[in-house]
Every structure is written in structure tokens, then in C-alpha cells.
Symmetry: C2
Subunit: 614 residues, 2 copies
Amino acid sequence: MNSASRYSLPALGHNPSSARQGTTPGSFANPPEVGGPRTFSSPDTPGMPAPSDKTAWDFMPADWRRSSDGRRLAVSVRPELAPANAYAYEPPAGFEPITQLEFARLGQITPEMRRVAEREPHLSAEEIRDEIAAGRMVIPANRIHLANRLDPMAIGRASRTKVNANMGASPISSGTHEEVEKLRWAERWEADTVMDLSTGGDVEKTREAICRAATVPIGTVPIYSMILGRKIEELDASCVLETLKRQAEQGVDYFTIHAGVRRAHLPFVSKRLIGIVSRGGSLLAKWMIHHEQENLMAQIWDDICELVRQYDVTFSIGDGLRPGGLADATDAAQLGELEALGELTERAWRHGCQVMIEGPGHVPFDQIEFNMKLQRRLCHGAPFYVLGPLVTDMFPGYDHITSAIGATAAAYHGAAMLCYVTPKEHLGLPKKDDVKQGCVAYKIAAHAADVALGIPSARDRDDELTKARAALNWEKHFELSFDPDLARAYHDEDLDVDTDFCAMCGHDWCSVRISKEIGIFVSGKDADYQWDKPKISAALNPAQREILIQRGVLSPAEVHRLASKTKTVMGATGQKAACHSDVVDDSAAQHLQAERLDPLTLEPIEPVIEDVRA
Amino acid sequence: MNSASRYSLPALGHNPSSARQGTTPGSFANPPEVGGPRTFSSPDTPGMPAPSDKTAWDFMPADWRRSSDGRRLAVSVRPELAPANAYAYEPPAGFEPITQLEFARLGQITPEMRRVAEREPHLSAEEIRDEIAAGRMVIPANRIHLANRLDPMAIGRASRTKVNANMGASPISSGTHEEVEKLRWAERWEADTVMDLSTGGDVEKTREAICRAATVPIGTVPIYSMILGRKIEELDASCVLETLKRQAEQGVDYFTIHAGVRRAHLPFVSKRLIGIVSRGGSLLAKWMIHHEQENLMAQIWDDICELVRQYDVTFSIGDGLRPGGLADATDAAQLGELEALGELTERAWRHGCQVMIEGPGHVPFDQIEFNMKLQRRLCHGAPFYVLGPLVTDMFPGYDHITSAIGATAAAYHGAAMLCYVTPKEHLGLPKKDDVKQGCVAYKIAAHAADVALGIPSARDRDDELTKARAALNWEKHFELSFDPDLARAYHDEDLDVDTDFCAMCGHDWCSVRISKEIGIFVSGKDADYQWDKPKISAALNPAQREILIQRGVLSPAEVHRLASKTKTVMGATGQKAACHSDVVDDSAAQHLQAERLDPLTLEPIEPVIEDVRA
């Protein structure tokens, strides 16, 4: 039967491998349209909202005038995709641009845009400028933080997917030093931004220290500070503006402000299974009910915009009505607020402010695409920054997984930044390892989406690792892993010899080894990946040792041995080791396997180890 | 601005909540079409292959004759969806049905079909029979295993998504007893089937013991036994058939047989980054190259069919050419094999055998839908049983997460069973905790897909848990969790008092608590979920204690205290405790929080604890 008559491949997008290695036909996402509303995007299933036909160019400050020369800015690779109204403008006399958006609107490339182009080489500085001008990208970079250690980065669907890690002291707080340590830990696990959600301890001093120390942008939810020592009912405009000013002066790069929750939405909330689960949202709902007024933040939105513009603090307009369970997803309250977020975006753009939008939360897997594409429409492409979403509610303790599933789909369908969820979500405060687990799960989600979207070169490290795997080159395998210590520790738990098989299948059963034996496959033969001889792996470093202790599979004595072994002690010679299928014969392989523990009973085979190692 | 003009909801499928609780509009998947080719299905993005217009009714045994009365079987709720050619047939004289497929073709409902209908109440026994007759569902139930302890279950996209857990001894094997323990552990974490992949120890005795002990179907890859003590090159037809017969007599419920790898596919493999990663596939490739013959399994396929039919062993036709990295996904080798799997399916159906198909592996997120829908087309709806797939290669040590992401998408787009991947994948043999982690990650994936597909009542437990969460009813929250011990332990790590907040936000910052205070929301007011008073939680049980010890956050003394506390010791009174927002005033809340450890420094605040607990 003929393949062509039975199926055809869907239209293909860009190959995410820079070298087009391997045999995959390439990404099935849409071809890239940087400069247009779809930049990198998934194909639409039927019924999905189309992108907005507007951009930030349609919401210019009232006192800017179009240049008389009719010159166009923000051109796209495909001119028909370029934003409407992207003409050269003249600001009022004496105007000094401050925000990245303002520079972009004037056609200027800032040092921050250049730095982003260095960090995201699939985009040029010009493309970054044009994405910012269109409102589809932000560089959260408070000018005060820039004067410190901030390394500028961008959030937008044209760039790689970003990950945020939350931290912050609770009312029984840790000290400033501990918070800075947590910041370093999140940076270690490659969080792209960090939110300081402190509600206890010396929050001012802590925030100051974090802003000084951070190389990544710092976000806050300023309402938390506004109600310290004050009831929510007492909140007024001057308190709001004072708090925002103080935090802006400290160098906070983006503010979550829940200005989209409105009185008209509250009746929809009453039908929910779990009401309001956003802290800011619930506080402002209480304020509105008490004062019988519209949301205070919305009332003074123009004042807030003018204030944050002076520092180029980016808005992260909060979704106070995000669903707290699958049963409340995509409901009238949530979508009503999303419309309000779109209007707030338009107003903020008119003030020259950079904007991103926060999103849910808990959303069934089938509803994620719609949620992402509706935001793209209603908020005219402003970057979407989502929390998860969790795709099931019944796995507390594993919500880094339930939400990483949703986060991957969210990023593939349009979200630009993913706020991590840790295993402690819904149960308590994340500990150090929870922060790591959350970061890793979300780096997985972000990376998987970037590969799927066909972002150029996104798949290169996967391919390099696959080549190392094909060569059974363990050292390269670990080096290329996101968490090399963990991978090395897990490997050595069973077999601390780097050879042409692993303990999972053993020598005789290793398909990769067999595949290498089949000459015509040429599998794992890349010259750069070849080794000469099997070797005892290096001694466990402290991090690897800690991982194995925590797993609790090996006896303390066995972990100690792995941590103290050296090549000479173990009789290994030379610096190179091999992964050729023919360097270990069957009996040698059996011996290598037998000298380790029994991986099935979970008991160390101590006598055997003593015999061999003595 | 009017919502209706700005967007509309996509066409809606079935609401997965039996009570339609909450405010979500319902599933965005296609409406159910049980009886037709789409049963429960995701909407197609452009370019996806349509379902096959054939079913198992189109591949009847040559000696069955259509009844002269022209009566139709296998009617659907919507007659236009019912399979073509689902007419009443007359088998040859003296024919005795053995397999579930044969009974279904004769219009008979077996006790196993009835049992499945009990376990999956959204389907009637008649619907199950008709799905089986169409080839879209299997009940893997060897008649010998049925005579032991097997509790029949079904695999097919009309039923809930199933999860398989792999186990098995390596060449340094554990004993039979340990393998049975591992079986029990996988059943404890709700694996729906278990594959015994033993390649070492007394594999015969182990398999026998597992088949006797298992209440879930057992699968094997019989080629592993065929080459014990024999080189792959020595494999011949009689060895294959003898091994299959022996395992069938032991009660194995399904066999993975890699009959789809063909000589014509091997040239495609040579261009791959990582050749063949299936053990069975690599062995048979080696056999074909050595003998310069077509795949032995394919050569004797009809004999194999006749043999397995006698026991009603279900085929799980293996994908020996599944990709081993993103770079090799959806390539000519993989799709060529998939076509061969379709032809093997047709032939097996003609012999009356039940069939499912195995699938990849490593597949970028964007390519998953196509892979699932192409299988549905080429294999005429035979259930798809996939391994993951992993959506990135560069996170070894976390592949239960990388693959649970792919598995959710796979099930949503059509896969019927998900083979778990553990954190040890690619690195070594899974230990007991890895088995648990793999099972949990895959139960998440399976469940999330069932909710997304709109399978009736799939969301009920999520909704119940959300209601408990809204009421801040911790006991119910934990009871409804998939892993109650873990959830309880994580909660008590910070705050071993069940009250109307948790340590994540603390009393003043609990949005759920605030939401409850806002009278009009009526959040968490369900009468069944109300408690009266805060109470000290129960002492940690051994499992919970173990979880906290392994986390390593608390001091041993602190874990001991949590494990030995009792209500009376802690001064709590009564059996009920409350989660009303107004039962704990601010100062009491501060006190409850302060008497626990500092969750941020990760150090126990021993003096404070002593003061309070003394």
C-alpha cells in the first residue's frame, strides 16, 4: 500500500535544530512569523479566536503625532504581517523616552535590546525593538535595577519561553540573608525571573537586598506591603501610590496589580466551587464590597501608569479571578476579568508602559489552547504570564507535575512566561528542594514548548545529548544534562563504571549497544563522541552524594565508598574510557554488573562489594 | 465592549462532571461518539489524518459467512457512525468462540465485558461488546489468568485511559518473592497493567508467580526469554512458538511482538541519530541482517495468531523502530513500521485475535497529535499503547515528568494506554520509589486526559477535592488526594494544626479564607464539608513519617514529635475541627503559626516548640 495515499504530513514549520540533524521532518507548528501577530505559534484547532488585529501601535499617547513623512517603522519579514499604524511618530516637545516601549516607538535600539539579542540569537536587535513596539514583548528592567546587577532579558512569544520562581518570607520570616540565598538557588536552577512575595520579616530590607543582588528581574505584588499593619478596608490611593513609588525606587522590575477584578464580576464568583484564590483578588474584592466602589486600582490606573513609567517598571496585570479548580475554569468571572485586562493594557500602552498579563491557574487540558488564544486576542498580543495551569486537582504534593503538563501546553499555545508551582503548592511553604523541583519541572515545560514551536536551535542540546547517548558516552551524557549531578548519581547508584551499557538493561540487553553493533546503522559513531575504554567513574561530589543519601537506596557505607573512590584506587588507567560495543566482552560485563548492588531487592550486596573492592 | 463580538466559545463536548458542578462551561473536546470511530476525541488541528473508515468488521475470518437475514450488529447511538459491515455472521460448523473478539463478533456479552461495564459505568456492556467487535477495545484476559485472580479491565479510547508499569529482574536478579512484592507495589499505586520484563533470575518461576498473584493483566516481551542461553542469530520458528506457548500457558495476558520491523525499514534507521532503541527491535534487526531474511515474527505471523488465539492472549504489536530521541521522531523508519503494524492488525483480526499497538517513545510536543491520529487511521482504531512520549531529551533523572507531559497529550489525542517512565529511565534500574514516582506521574497524565476528553464523571473527584479545599477541610482534602500520606506529611511539615489557613500564605494572607469571609461568595459553604473547630492533626503514621524523613527538612526529633503526638497530648478536644474563617482570631492564628518551625530557614525553632509543647 502506498503511504502517500494513506496520509500526508501536516504543513511543517521551522526545524528547531540548527543543523537539521536526525531524521524528524521538523516542527508541526506554524512557520515563524516574527513581526506578525503569530511570531511562533501552534496551529489553531477549530473555533479558536484569531489574534487581535491591533497592537500597541494602535494605542499611542494622545499627544504623540504621526510624522508628516508617513514613514513606516516595525517592518516584518512579510510586510503584510507588519502592524497597522506602525508609522514614525513625533512626541511632544521636551519628551524624554524612559521605557523600552517608548524607545522602541521612536525606532531606537537600547543597550538592553542589544543584550537580549545576544542572549536570544534567533532574534535581531531590530526584531526585538519591533516586538516591544508592538507590545508583544517586554524587557522588565527598572532603571534602578539596571544600574545594579540586572542582566536584561525579554518576555514575549517571539523569544524563548521564560520561567518565574516565587519566593518570599511568611509572617514567621527568615532573614534577609536567607532570602538572598533562595534567590541564588533559583538563579542556579535557571529561573528567568523571581518574584519576592514576602509578607513577613523585614520586607523592606529583604526586597532591597534582593533587588541589589539579583541578576534576574524581580517582581512583586505590592498590595502585600500595602496592607502590612493595616486592614484592607483602610487602603486608599495615597497608600497605593506611596508603596509603588518606594518599591520602584528599590529597583523592582515588575508589579503585579489586580486592577481587572471588578464589581460586575463578583456575582459570577458566587457560583464557583472555590471563589477567589488570588490573594490580591480576594483583598480587592473585600475592599470593593466594603466601600461599594469600583476596584481602587482601576480607579487610579492612570496615576499608577504615570508613576511606574518613570522607572520603567513593567506591569504584570494580575488575574485576581483566576480559577482555583478545574470546575471554575474558563468561566464568566475569569473571562470577564480578561476583557478588563485587555482594556487596562490599552490604557497602559497609551502611557508608554510595558505590559504583560497574568493568567490561570487550574485549567483542564482541553481548555488551555482557547485560554491562551483568547488572551492573545483580547490583550492584543501582550505577553501572557501563566501560573501552571494545573490540569487536575486531585494530586496535591505533585502539583509541579500536574502544572508542568498544563504549562507546556500553555507555552505551546501562546504563553510567554510560566510561573512555577512547587510540590508544596496547596500544602505549605516550599523548602529548598521544592524550589529546585519547581524550577526543573518548569524548565522542562518551557524547553519542550520551545522545541515544539520550532524556535531556531532550541533542540540542539537535546540532539547533542542523544548523540552522546547513542555513543554510550556517559560523561558527555551527564555534562549535557540539565542536572548533571542527579544523572551521575542515579547512574552510579547501580553501576559506577562508565561502559557501553547501563544497569537498566545490562550488557546483553542494551538496544543501543546492539544497534551500534549493527554496522550499517552507524549509530553513535560521531567521532567527537568516541571513547577508548571503560573506566571507573569519578568519585561522587558532595551534591551527588547528597542526592544518593536522600534517595535512601544505598547503605551509608556504600554511598561513602562511591564518594571516596578515585581512579587509581579502583585500578582504572588512563583518562579516556570507551563506549565501543566491542570493548567489553560478555564475561567482563557480567563481572562489572555483579560487583554492584542488587538493584532489585534494594539491598546492597555488601559481601560481593567487599570481595571485589578489597 | 460586547463579549459576543470579541470571541465565542468553541463547540463544546461533554461535561466531565457528573453533577456539572462549578462554573466551567465543560469539555472543549469533541462530543462523545461511542460506537463511532472517534468515541472520545480531541478536535483535529488542520492536516490531521481522519480516522480509518474500516474496523475489525472489515477483516473477518475467511470462513465466516454473513447471515442471510442481513441483520446488523454493533449499532451506535448515531446510526451513521456505526461500523460498516457490522452484520451478523455465521462461523463455520463446530466453531467455538474463545477470544473476546470472537464472542463480540457473535453478538455475545461475556462475563468479562460485564465486569468492565461495572468498572467503567459510563459504558454499557453492549457498548463494550461493540467496541471490542470493532477492534477499538481489548480485554487482555488470558483464560488461564482468568481462572486465577485476574480482574478484567479494558483498554480502548472509549474507556478511561490506562497506565502500565514495567518491572522485571535484570541478569543480577532478585527472587520471585521480590518480584511479587513489586507487583503489589505497582498495584498499590494503581497501575492498570504490569509488564514483566525479566531477563535474569529464574524468569520462568518469576513469571508463573506473577501471573498467579496479579489481579491486573500481565504483559511480556517473549523474545527476551527466547534468547536466554541462545544467540539471537539462532532464533527459529519452533523456538518462537514454543516460548509463546509456554508463556500463554502460564497465563500471560498480552505479548509484545516486534513483527513490524522490516528489512525495507533498516536503511532509514542508518540516518538516525540513535538507531534502534527497542530491545526487541534491535535483536530482530540483527537477526534479519544475519539471515538476509524478512523479520521472523512476520514470516510466521499466522502461526503465532493461531497459537495466541487459543488462550486469548492479546497482541501488543511492538514498535521496534520507535524513535530514541526527538531528532528521530516521526521519521520514515517509524512511519514505515506503523504501516506494517496496520497490516499485522488486519491479519490478526482475521484470526480472531485481540490487538493493541505500541507507540513511541521520544516525540516533540507538536508532533504528538499527528502520531496518535495517524495510528488511529493506519491501524483502524486498534488501541494505541504508548511509551511516554518524552518531549525533551535533556532532562535525564526527570523523565517521568518529561514523558508525563507527552503522555497527557498522547491520551488526549487518542492513545488508550500509557506505559510509564520512571526517574531512572536512561540511567539505571528503577527502585521502589522510582516505581511509585512513575505510577503517580502517569496516573496524573491519564486522569488529566480523561477529564479533558469529557469522559463522564472523570472530574468528580477533582471537584470534591476542590470543595474540601474551599472549606479548608484538611482531612477531606487529604482523603481525596491520590497520595494522602504525602499530602498530610507535607502539610504537617509546616503546621500540624488543621485550621482555616495553611503555612503557604498564613492566616492573614489566605485567599480562600478571605473568600469565605466575603458572604456573597458562599465559597466553601457546602454543608458536607463544614468542620467546627481547629484541631491538632493526627499523629503521623509510619508512611508519613518516612516521607518527612526522606525530605530531610525537619530534624529527627521534630519528625519523632509529629509521629508520636496525639490529640490529648496536644490539648485538642473533640473529634471535629473547624474551618470557618471566624473561628480563629488573628492572635490565635499567629500563635498557631509561631509554635511551629521556621519554614524559611529550614531550621526547627526548637525553643519555641519546647515552650508551647511542654
